[in-house]
Symmetry: C2
Subunit: 216 residues, 2 copies
């Protein structure tokens, strides 16, 4: 089982605010996520700037494409993104048009499982050639008090059995990680747990330590 | 039955490109939509600039919020948007958190019906206090050759019967409008039909003429 990657989610509302975190932790992390909030606030200049700053990192533009898959994915990839996201409720035509832009560039498209989706849709994504899905405990669901539960684990195992590479996100802290032991997770996302830590480098290293302990 | 408004969808990839259209047609239109593509390309500066240029128009930031409803809607409203959008597959907690930001500001939140959604969700939106929905023939579905059909009309009537104010979008041309006669449409969106017209002002006026003919 491959060792999962560590991704930092930058959901800041300005590039300057986001870069204050990455300048400290970039050596510890594998994937830099230009979050939906940051893309929305700053546009693709944030993606261009992060690729320019950290050309060796995987840059993910989390734009949650719902339509116009070709135009939006091209916008992300041409700005320097290696990966981008399509929202789970998008028409399958949108998924396919984003994949068509990704492939010749050696880039990739993830399906963002935020909100309502079905295993029938997952089957369609797989048939369309999607490899990566992002399993998401929603921020608003977290705020409403929903914890990681058996239902999450069951769905995550189901998606792994279907062959998807899984990114896990949603208020993760290092203590959550052992929950997913034995499941081939591709990426763990940390956001506020690193960004808001008193010592962000130590917080990132603690994620890496727990990942190595359970998947190394 | 109120006369439907006319909205221009600006799905350009730069502000300067978008403003080339609005400088010509702003007198003919009621709602300026800073489209998802433009928001993604330029960030909220596009919203700020359009509100500064056209303070008397309704400015819509079509950011299709999927999560973090409070942060993203606040970002849009604080940038000058009067309306913003939440994607149909979002958790109901996300819908509610966006509405909570909208109300004290006299702003509004639309549910963007792009991709998969159900009438059970529509019932939840209504209970949460949502008034506006955007019925969407997807761009990629259009490209795949799907025309407006009886199924669209049935769903649109159903949503109107539930009390929703409906915005219609998806490659509309003036000849499509009579299809929706007798349904209380709040807003018709025109994008490429105006932007790409040889004479955008004449194209906008033709929309207004047909709207007045069937709903005036």
């Amino acid at each position: 089982m491959a060792v999962p990657l560590l991704q930092i989610a930058l959901d800041n509302t300005s590039f300057s605010d986001a870069v204050r975190t990455t300048r400290l932790v970039y050596e510890e992390i594998d994937v830099i996520e230009v979050g939906t909030i940051l893309c929305c606030a700053e546009g693709m200049s944030a993606v261009r700037n992060f690729k320019a700053l950290y050309p060796d990192k995987i840059i993910l533009a989390d734009i949650k494409i719902a339509d116009a898959g070709n135009i939006l994915s091209r916008l992300a990839f041409d700005s320097g993104a290696d990966w981008t996201t399509v929202i789970c409720c998008a028409d399958i035509a949108t998924v396919k048009s984003a994949l068509r832009e990704a492939r010749p560039r050696g880039c990739d498209v993830q399906i963002e499982l935020t909100g309502a989706w079905t295993l029938e849709q997952a089957e369609q994504w797989r048939e369309a050639g999607i490899k990566q899905v992002v399993y998401h405990r929603s921020r608003d669901a977290q705020a409403a008090g929903q914890a990681w539960g058996e239902k999450d684990l069951e769905l995550i195992r189901r998606l792994a059995d279907m062959g998807f590479e899984i990114t896990l996100t949603g208020g993760l802290v290092p203590e959550d990680l052992p929950l997913f032991k034995g499941i081939p997770i591709k990426v763990f996302i940390a956001g506020r747990a690193i960004r808001d830590a008193e010592d962000p480098v130590a917080a990132a290293r603690e994620f890496k330590r727990v990942i190595a302990q359970y998947w190394g």
